[in-house]
């Protein structure tokens, strides 16, 4: 339960109005409460949208040229990504981890249910994002992003750089769920001639604790249980 005073502080925090001391105290409270962090994130998104109410004006075209020149000539190197590579995780290990994490996942689900009321009116906040990286034999630059909405039991997947399969074969999307021994089919995905797909999907069974999504190469029309090689896989 977030008190009214905390809500006041949260509103001032997202607008950058807290003093340094107040901000430090509030950050401390934030680190101790997932519910408060979710609340702040929601308020931050609402506050950011206020920017759109400013009278719309485009910057001069010369500004973009200036900035592009700057990043090219000034050697402003981006900070390297700190993320671990998305390597292929063998199904057996994944299954073991899933079982191991089952109890924790169920506990987390209980906490998430407590937040459901506060977040029910906010579908975007319920969206979990998964980045899927390639696994041999997929091309090295193949990738996909999944936006998963647990409340609706559906999601949107966007695939790029995945060439169309040979005739008689299809790509199939799978949800790896803590409560199911085998991956749950989320349907066949067809890419266009440029290796791109962007579709909404819905798993064939209810999945409450999705740990990962994966795409495999299967027989045309898809299969009820995964048979073929995994091409893309990734967790949240």
């Amino acid at each position: 339960m977030i008190s009214e005073e905390q809500q006041d502080q949260a509103a001032l925090h997202v607008l950058g109005l807290l003093s340094a001391a107040e901000a430090a105290a509030f950050e401390s409270a934030l680190s101790a409460s997932a519910e408060l962090r979710d609340f702040v994130r929601e308020l931050r998104e609402a506050a950011a949208d206020i920017a759109l109410s400013a009278p719309s004006q485009a910057p001069p075209a010369s500004l973009k040229q200036r900035i592009m020149r700057e990043i090219t000539t000034e050697k402003l190197a981006p900070v390297p990504l700190q993320r671990a590579p998305f390597g292929w995780v063998p199904w057996a290990i994944a299954a073991g981890l899933i079982v191991f994490c089952g109890v924790l996942a169920l506990d987390r689900a209980r906490l998430e249910r407590e937040l459901t009321g506060a977040r029910a009116a906010d579908p975007l906040m319920q969206t979990a994002f998964f980045t899927l990286g390639p696994s041999a034999p997929a091309p090295a630059d193949a990738k996909a992003t999944v936006a998963w909405e647990p409340g609706r039991q559906s999601g949107v997947i966007r695939i790029s750089n995945l060439p169309a399969p040979q005739p008689g074969r299809d790509y199939q999307l799978w949800a790896v769920d803590a409560a199911h021994k085998d991956p749950i089919s989320a349907g066949v995905i067809r890419v266009d001639k440029n290796g791109i797909a962007q579709v909404r999907f819905k798993p064939v069974e209810k999945v409450e604790h999705v740990k990962a999504f994966a795409i495999s190469l299967e027989r045309e029309g898809g299969v009820p249980k995964k048979e073929g090689p995994i091409l893309l896989v990734g967790s949240a």
């Binding site: 009214e4 809500q7 006041d8 949260a10 509103a11 001032l12 997202v14 607008l15 950058g16 109005l17 994130r41 929601e42 308020l43 931050r44 998104e45 609402a46 506050a47 950011a48 949208d49 206020i50 920017a51 759109l52 109410s53 400013a54 009278p55 719309s56 004006q57 485009a58 910057p59 001069p60 500004l63 973009k64 200036r66 900035i67 592009m68 700057e70 990043i71 090219t72 402003l76 190197a77 981006p78 900070v79 390297p80 990504l81 700190q82 009116a121 906010d122 579908p123 975007l124 906040m125 969206t127 994002f129 980045t131 992003t145 936006a147 909405e149 949107v156 966007r158 962007q198 909404r200």
Partner: protein
């Protein structure tokens, strides 16, 4: 459908930021094309000066280029992250401007010189734009009780603290805090962010 479009846009934004983090200039160019207008509009509204707003926008995009890898999707969407960066850079400039004005006022003995931040405050009701999302935000903002909208706009665009807003409007501090909170909660509810 608007909701799905928003999700797809979020995916595209995250992909662009990931590519920028790897030094991809084409992704940076694409993100600039998508966000430069709203961010510039924000900077211009807060600073009231086109030259200053362009300099601030340049700072923001150079920061995006060099810090894309530090973006944390758990904390905010790409859009709200860049809005935060923009407000931060603009506020730095407003503070520097205020310091300069104080020095001038002190040197000339004109202690009553106006050192307020954005002097071009105007109501969202006065603006017009064809962008759907912008129009929706304006509509929601304009439908807030006027005293809540006023407090939020003074804080967001004018960067007045709640203490300064209370003094300017002659209202108790607690009243101003409550107006800001209630206004933001209504925005959250009605924008479905």
């Amino acid at each position: 459908m608007a909701e799905e479009a928003a999700i797809v846009q979020q995916i595209a934004d995250r992909e662009m930021i990931e590519r920028i983090g790897r030094g991809d200039q084409s992704a940076f160019s694409a993100l600039y094309d998508r966000l430069s207008r709203p961010l510039y509009s924000l900077a211009l509204r807060m600073l009231g000066d086109a030259g200053d707003a362009q300099d601030a926008l340049q700072d923001v995009f150079l920061q995006i280029w060099s810090r894309a890898a530090t973006y944390n999707p758990e904390q905010s969407t790409v859009f709200s992250w860049t809005v935060l960066l923009t407000r931060s850079r603009v506020i730095d400039r407003l503070r520097a401007r205020k310091r300069r004005l104080r020095i001038v006022a002190s040197a000339t003995g004109d202690e009553d010189a106006d050192v307020a931040d954005a002097s071009t405050m105007e109501s969202a009701a006065d603006t017009a734009d064809k962008n759907d999302e912008a129009a929706r935000v304006r509509s929601v903002l304009n439908n807030l009780p006027s005293e809540q909208r006023e407090a939020i706009e003074l804080a967001f665009f004018g960067h007045l603290t709640h203490h300064e807003i209370a003094a300017r409007l002659g209202e108790p501090l607690g009243t101003i805090k409550a107006r800001i909170r209630r206004g933001l909660l209504k925005l959250r509810e009605r924008l479905g962010t």
